[in-house]
């Protein structure tokens, strides 16, 4: 590192040396280790018969280091039901990471345990005080928790002054990002449908000739929410002035990234059957948050000749190494998951079939999706979490099934992907919905927590993902927001360039490890690291050694680099 030396450079070099000794094919295998882990939440989410739309969308999870002890803790959202049995209502849970995939339920001690009909969870440092706060999105009032810094949280929803946070709408995924570059995390909340429990749709609805719970088209799409963070746990509702509320959609997944090559964080929303949204950020310096609706003309709102898909989850990532974030969305069964290649200037091309992601995904109903380098070969692979919404899918030759297995696609490095799901151990069929990614066991590679409906989550330990070299970075903003959300990191190693954006929220109803993980393949060092902070600051580091298990790096804006664990 030319700019700042690591504080424990010797240890880092030793780790690099150990990794140099490794050779051979790296093959990822996921093993579900939930049994005996201490994670015991079997989620409630409506009736098992699924009579109403509200009963099939499921929940998400957040991986966040709430107690700042250096490992990722787990927040699991719980749903509810129209008819609940007597007794304690279903509650969300917080599990503290005890190491080695062992967890302890600390919900009560932490002052958490929301009993709303939960959907998503989103971690982010709302007040820039150095610890992650927590937003829970519900069908009904959301809850914003302030992290008190002592292992407890306080419900501060009412302090926000953001009426929409507490309204009765059907809130779905959310994402934090500094949309006006003022150093605080603003908030986008996707809402789904206008739904009133007391007035479910009366129309008979059919799927493949079978009567089923009515989907979104029997309802009206809901408008979405944008909040500007004032920095003191109060938010200004700018949904109208930003241009977002005038365009309702059956929102599910949200991701923020730089989709049109400028320095402003944009928003992409996967909508069910109403066309996806691409809102390009047109906020001027010190101006109010304003978006341009580029959904249709960008090519990223529809497929084929302008056909809406049933968008569920979404993630962005530079799959082809051209420096621009591409977009992947999951969709309904009998339709394909969609990979939109970013051609620059906010223009996209659907390359799903050319990338070998189209045909193979047709039988699945996808929810969470995430780009990540699971095998550390220096390109982004793709995870897709699946599960149908109709129990009736098993009752005749529907061509699909109710419980479904998840999918892992390995990036082949030539613009295509290979389905490696079975060989990676992703064979168990569940009703998957949200997923949170992160290095849960601190062995360097990326594990996955999948939120399953009516079941325990899957804690998918990545075995083998760390056999190649890797490095990871936790960003700490100073002029920028404290989490460094929106920072772009461009890493050059082994003749390849990788670009990642630090994000908060993505996939579906979930929140990932805030650290940026890079696979280096066989490259002995990171040759160059360039960080573009949301504040506009640019930092460059050179000759960066790879990490070792448990030892990534913390990069503080304007203050250099330190080992993640000195």
């Amino acid at each position: 590192m030319s700019r700042t030396s690591p504080e424990d450079a010797d240890g880092v070099r030793f780790g690099a040396l150990l990794l140099l000794l490794w050779s051979g094919e790296a093959q990822v295998r996921f093993v579900d280790v939930v049994e005996g882990s201490g994670v015991d939440l079997v989620t409630t989410f409506g009736s098992k018969e699924k009579r109403y739309i509200i009963e099939y969308t499921g929940t998400g999870a957040a991986l966040t280091d709430y107690d700042l002890d250096g490992d990722l803790d787990l927040y699991l959202v719980n749903g509810s039901a129209i008819e609940l049995p007597p007794g304690a209502p279903p509650t969300d849970r917080l599990y503290r990471n005890e190491g080695g995939f062992r967890f302890m339920d600390v919900t009560e001690a932490a002052g958490l345990g929301d009993t709303g009909w939960g959907g998503g969870s989103l971690a982010g440092d709302v007040d820039n005080d150095g610890d992650p706060d927590l937003l829970v999105t519900n069908f009904g009032p959301n809850v914003l928790y302030r992290n008190n810094g002592d292992g407890t949280f306080t419900d501060v929803t009412k302090l926000t002054g953001a009426a929409g946070l507490e309204d009765g709408r059907w809130h779905s995924s959310a994402a934090f990002g500094d949309l006006d570059a003022d150093g605080f995390l603003d908030l986008y909340i996707a809402n789904h449908a206008v739904y009133r429990m007391e007035e479910p749709p009366k129309l008979p609805c059919f799927w493949k000739g079978i009567q089923i719970a009515c989907g979104p088209l029997a309802h009206r799409p809901e408008s979405h929410l944008v909040y500007r963070n004032r920095g003191d746990f109060s938010f200004a509702d700018v949904s109208d002035s930003s241009g977002v509320s005038s365009k309702p959609g059956f929102g599910f997944g949200v991701v923020m990234d730089y989709f049109d090559d400028d320095e402003r964080l944009d928003v992409y929303v996967a909508n069910d059957l109403s066309g996806n949204f691409l809102f390009l950020n047109r906020t001027e310096a010190k101006g109010g948050i304003v978006f341009e609706d580029a959904s249709a003309l960008s090519g990223a709102g529809f497929v084929e000749g302008g056909r809406e898909q049933a968008g569920m989850g979404v993630d962005s990532g530079d799959f082809n190494g051209d420096g621009r974030p591409d977009v992947h969305t999951t969709n309904f069964s009998d339709d394909y998951n969609t990979l939109y290649r970013n051609d620059g200037s906010g223009l996209f091309t659907d390359v799903s079939f050319e990338a070998r992601l189209g045909e193979v995904t047709l039988p699945y109903l996808g929810w969470a999706t995430a780009f990540a380098d699971f095998d550390f070969d220096s390109d982004l692979d793709l995870l897709v979490v699946n599960g149908h919404i109709y129990p009736e899918a098993d009752r005749f030759q529907s061509g699909t099934g109710y419980a479904q297995s998840n999918l892992l696609f390995e990036n082949a490095g030539d613009g295509t992907f290979r389905d490696v799901s079975a060989r990676s151990g992703l064979v168990e069929k569940k009703l998957g919905r949200g997923a949170a990614l992160g290095d849960v066991d601190e062995d360097g590679d990326i594990d996955v927590v999948v939120a399953n409906m009516h079941a325990l989550p899957a804690l998918l330990r990545n075995d083998g993902g760390n056999r190649r070299r890797w490095v990871r970075f936790l960003l700490v903003g100073r002029e920028s927001n404290r989490d460094g959300v929106g920072a772009r990191v461009v890493l050059e190693a082994g003749g390849r360039s990788q670009t990642r954006t630090s994000k908060s929220g993505g996939g579906y109803l979930s929140s990932h490890d805030p650290r940026l993980h890079f696979g280096l393949a066989e490259a002995p060092t990171v040759e160059r690291l360039r960080i573009l902070w949301p504040s506009g600051a640019v930092e460059v580091y050179e000759t960066f050694p790879p990490g070792e298990p448990g030892k990534g790096y913390v990069i503080k804006e304007g203050a250099g680099v330190a080992a993640e664990r000195p």
Partner: protein, 365 residues
């Protein structure tokens, strides 16, 4: 009036009334509908609750295109529309139960053979848009004579024509069970399953139709499509190519080949197929639309523009081409034209969607 009383009523018609009723039915069968109506009226004047006469009269009205009158006869006490339903409700038994059907048959041998078993009320109800009632009647009638291929074929076709594909599938399944060499029924069964997106049963039915009928272009394309969506595009391509051999001058098989190749990510080969399709059938806008999309994917905006303009010249209502045109204009920096094309796309799609949405709801039944 109880169902038992109805049965007794039927059995207690005087011999003269019974003869008169049968005479009216004979006139009905001989297409003397006005004469039949007079006979039914005489019976109904004496026995207003005699349901068989009311049902026959409804059919006569329906055949005379007096739909309001037919509807009135059928709707008089909707719960009394069909005897079996009355019996079922009265006795708390399933309308499909054997003893019930036996009693019905005993009470109304003529009606069962002629009227009930032909499902005429179902057809009338379909024509009146009373879909739920029609489906219920069909299911009741098939319980009486499940192996009547003629009736099931008739009902299947009627359901298909009204986009009620699930009961259509059930009807055609009964036809092929009773008449396993009925090519038409296998074909229709396959088609109805295709609409319902039930790929595996569609494949079985269409393969059987091809076995029986030999290779036909339409069947090969339908079977290929089922494989394409299953998804097995390799198999689909084989079938489409067989269709090309059967009809080398037809553009549609080449179009389907293009779609399957696109699904395999083989853009160059797909482009050739769409070009060929468009050459053979210049009036089809779809190959041009997909050709334009491929050119757009390659960044060949000028080429795409020319191709898509041809597509909308062929079919000015082909909204898909306007969507791509809007994207092309955007890429060419022609913002105003992009907005116009986008507005046109949205307008045309809305118009088509207005029709489609109704159809889609029905199609999924």
């Amino acid at each position: 009036m109880s169902a038992l009383a109805l049965i007794l009523l039927a059995q207690l018609l005087t011999p003269e009334e019974r003869t008169a009723f049968e005479g009216a039915i004979r006139l009905h069968l001989a297409s003397d509908l006005d004469g039949a109506l007079r006979g039914y009226r005489e019976i109904l004047d004496a026995h207003p609750d005699f349901v068989p006469a009311r049902l026959y009269r409804a059919e006569a009205f329906w055949l005379l295109e007096k739909r309001d009158e037919a509807r009135r006869d059928l709707s008089l006490g909707r719960g009394d529309l069909l005897l079996s339903r009355i019996l079922g409700r009265t006795f708390g038994q399933s309308v499909d139960s054997d003893p019930l059907v036996a009693r019905l048959s005993a009470a109304y041998p003529l009606e069962q053979n002629r009227f009930l078993a032909t499902g005429t009320p179902g057809l009338i109800l379909l024509s009146l848009g009373e879909f739920e009632e029609a489906i219920a009647d069909y299911r009741r009638v098939t319980a009486i004579d499940p192996e009547d291929a003629t009736f099931n074929r008739q009902m299947g076709a009627a359901f298909s024509s009204t986009k009620l594909f699930l009961p259509a599938v059930e009807a055609f399944e009964r036809v092929v069970a009773a008449a396993p060499k009925d090519v038409s029924a296998w074909r229709q069964l396959g088609s109805a399953n295709l609409v319902l997106q039930r790929w595996a049963p569609a494949i079985v039915a269409l393969e059987r139709a091809i076995d029986l009928a030999g290779e036909e272009g339409g069947l090969l394309l339908a079977l290929g499509y089922a494989h394409e969506r299953k998804p097995d595009t390799e198999k689909a391509l084989l079938l489409y190519r067989r269709a090309v051999r059967l009809a080398p001058e037809s553009g549609r098989p080449h179009y389907r080949i293009g779609r399957a190749l696109m699904a395999q990510g083989k853009l160059e080969e797909a482009e050739k197929a769409f070009t060929k399709s468009s050459f053979l059938d210049p009036k089809m806008p779809e190959p041009l639309g997909f050709l334009g999309e491929i050119q757009l994917k390659r960044g060949e905006s000028e080429h795409a523009l020319a191709t898509l303009e041809r597509a909308v010249a062929v079919d000015p209502a082909y909204f898909e081409a306007y969507y791509h045109l809007a994207r092309v204009y955007r890429r060419l920096g022609r913002g105003e034209e992009a907005q116009k094309a986008l507005a046109r796309y949205e307008e045309l799609k809305r118009e088509k969607r207005g029709v489609l949405s109704q159809e889609e709801v029905l199609a999924l039944r």
